[in-house]
């Protein structure tokens, strides 16, 4: 699966797409593939603060739990309610299934994250 070039990526396999000061966040195809079938997503609440590199929730498969790390600092403006009943959407379309939206404190923070090419190089090494 191709990695959208307009997204930015973290070393913890999250992606972020910025529109103005709103960042939309999900996990990458690499992450969903490593996890296996996702059974549950532990989401924060709207209004919660998130900090770059700190956890904001977790994703569970049958045999593993993975923490979700925020790529940016800000405040949660929306959570994807659909994930409460259909967490498998992340497996099917990881780059089109968002997890949370964040009002980013400093939009420029996103520039320090990996672009698609850098991320692809990064996961090639991981494998």
């Amino acid at each position: 699966m191709a990695y959208p070039t307009n997204y930015r990526y973290t070393r913890e396999h999250e992606w972020i797409s910025l529109t103005g000061s709103i960042g939309t966040i999900g996990i990458t195809d690499y992450a969903q593939n490593s996890l296996g079938d996702i059974v549950y997503v532990d989401l924060p609440k709207v209004g919660d603060a998130v900090t770059a590199n700190a956890t904001f929730g977790s994703v569970e498969s049958v045999k593993a739990v993975s923490d979700l790390y925020s790529p940016v600092t800000g405040t949660v403006t929306a959570i994807n309610e659909e994930l409460k009943t259909s967490p498998d959407k992340i497996n099917e379309t990881p780059h089109d299934t968002w997890i949370i939206k964040v009002e980013v404190a400093d939009p420029a923070q996103v520039n320090s994250l990996m672009d698609a090419a850098a991320y692809e190089a990064f996961i090639a090494v991981e494998q």
Binding site: D37, V39, Y40, E60, V62, P87, D88
Partner: protein, 521 residues
């Protein structure tokens, strides 16, 4: 009478053949109003009007329990039982589980009326029998572990770990500093870090060295004045004896930290060495592993905690004691003050430095009886021989499979051997698949994917209870599967093929949990 000579008579058919098992629905689905399996004797006291007596507390709608006759109940559970694998059927190669024979005499003596019917609050004068059993078991376990004191209160291994870490904490607090962190090797069982966390400590991981053991230099660098203890399993979860353990103890003790030993692998040590002799300060035992009490499908267990003398004052209350006089020291008796004869066993609650209780009453007495029966059946020579056979069996398996399965560590194995699925993974077959295929050969799988320091681990512990025949059948099965991986990997990847249910959809069970039966609308 399996042999492996050419002219051994009729060809052996291996361990298993398929046969029919009965289907059986849920009890609720077989229920019918009016069916009865019980009968109460007539009341010899006046009947009461429950609704009147209880008023608003009365239950109007009964719980939806089934209504069946006795034969249906016997058939239901008997049929269910035939769907289970069990030690009584064959070997469990599960690593660190020590699935040994559960002696039947254990079951018989645990059911002796005076013991099985004893209420925990009966007066001590009426409980001397069971108290003597507890005293003898304590003495034997102290001797086996080389420690100074023991509590039998914890209900299981994990519970014992918690108790042990609480003892450690209490001691540190008495020294003026509770300290903050517990060191745990990355090869450890999951209960270890979970225990440390719920005891209020942070967990610091200790990376294993190239041999899968503790790197002494790394340890020395990591231990500081904020380290409470190192939680170690010995032999480790890869079945290797930590031969530097006394040096590990010294490093810890030099910085005022303690050595906690997870006793899950005691089956490699009993009668050959004692943790108390190589520097362990506190440890737990698993009566349901080393001491033959039955697993029963997942419990009950029992997790005694043994410790050195300096930790003894902190043991959970109550502690077994003997009265030294008519009005013995600090004894709380359940109602017969003044009748205590000198030397009578009793429970001592006067323990000001105790960590408190970790459970109500005294522990899983039923399991104490079984464990003591096991110790008595073995004696000193039997216990040692048991350990020797356990280690011999594991090494035999290792020798017979190491040409086909990858050995990640070359260090010698004790009572368990860990392979990795590296060679099979090259053909797309993982340890979990091999484990499922083993079921078709009539065995329970070994421990899959643990310890985490070995990629694709196969953790095998045969125990001393396996005959050479059974071991040879196991080896034959594993060798056959290795061939299948080369010739027909799909067969292995889609196993098991012979069970009454095939691989179950765990994803569905976790996404949409159905945790109880409900009547259909």
């Amino acid at each position: 009478m399996a042999t492996n000579t050419e002219n051994s008579g009729p060809r052996t058919l291996g361990k298993v053949r398929p046969h029919q098992t009965q289907n059986e629905a849920l009890v609720f689905e077989k229920s019918s109003p009016g069916k009865r399996a019980y009968k109460m004797p007539p009341l010899d006291v006046p009947a009461v009007d429950a609704a009147a007596l209880l008023g608003a507390a009365h239950r109007d709608t009964p719980g939806l329990l089934p209504e069946l006759s006795e034969i249906e109940i016997i058939r239901h559970f008997t049929r269910l039982s035939t769907w289970n694998y069990a030690i009584d059927l064959g070997m469990y190669p599960l690593g660190s589980c020590t699935m040994k024979y559960n002696p039947r005499v254990n079951e018989a003596v645990a059911r002796i009326e005076g013991l099985a019917e004893a209420h925990p609050y009966r007066p001590d004068s009426l409980a001397q029998g069971v108290l003597e059993i507890i005293e003898l078991l304590q003495r034997c376990l102290i001797e086996i572990t080389g420690m100074d004191a023991i509590t039998l209160q914890p209900a299981a291994g994990a519970h014992g770990e918690l108790t042990g870490i609480m003892l450690v904490r209490a001691w540190h607090e008495s020294q003026g500093n509770a300290r903050r962190k517990v060191l745990i090797p990355d090869s450890a069982h999951g209960t270890n870090p979970a225990t440390a966390a719920i005891s209020g400590y942070t967990v610091e991981n200790l990376k294993s060295n190239a041999e899968g053991g503790i790197d002494l230099e790394a340890l020395a660098a990591q231990v500081d004045e904020e380290t409470t203890a190192l939680m170690l399993t010995n032999p480790s979860t890869i079945g290797v004896f930590e031969s530097q353990i006394h040096k590990i103890a010294d490093i810890l003790h030099a910085k005022g930290a303690l050595l906690y030993m997870d006793g899950a692998n005691m089956n490699a040590l009993v009668g050959k060495t004692r943790p108390g002799d190589f520097g362990v300060d506190v440890m737990h035992l698993n009566l349901h592993k080393t001491f033959s009490t039955p697993h029963g499908g997942g419990g009950p267990g029992s997790g005694p905690v043994a410790c050195k003398a300096f930790l003894e004052p902190f043991l959970p209350i109550p502690v077994l004691a003997r009265r030294t006089g008519i009005d013995g020291p600090g004894t709380r008796d359940s109602g017969t003050k003044g009748t205590g004869t000198t030397g009578q066993l009793c429970w001592n609650y006067d323990r000001p430095r105790s960590i408190g209780r970790v459970r109500a009453f005294y522990g899983n007495t039923g399991m104490f009886i079984r464990a003591l029966a096991y110790i008595l059946a073995n004696g000193p020579d039997g216990l040692r021989q048991t350990t020797e056979d356990a280690v011999l069996n594991a090494n035999y398996i290792r020798a017979k499979l190491e040409d086909l399965y990858e050995l990640p560590y070359k260090t010698s194995s004790m009572h368990e051997v860990v392979f990795s699925d590296k060679r099979q993974a090259a053909r797309g077959v993982k340890t979990g698949d091999i484990a499922k295929r083993l079921i078709d050969y009539g065995f329970h799988p070994y421990t899959v994917s643990f310890p985490m320091i070995v990629h694709g681990a196969l953790m095998i512990e045969p125990t001393e209870s396996e005959s050479r025949e059974e071991l040879d059948l196991f080896i034959e099965a594993m060798r056959s599967i290795a061939r299948e991986v080369e010739e027909n990997p799909e067969l292995v990847k889609t196993a098991p093929h012979s069970t009454r249910v095939s691989r179950l959809d765990e994803v569905r069970a976790a996404r949409k949990p159905i945790l109880r039966w409900r009547p259909s609308e």
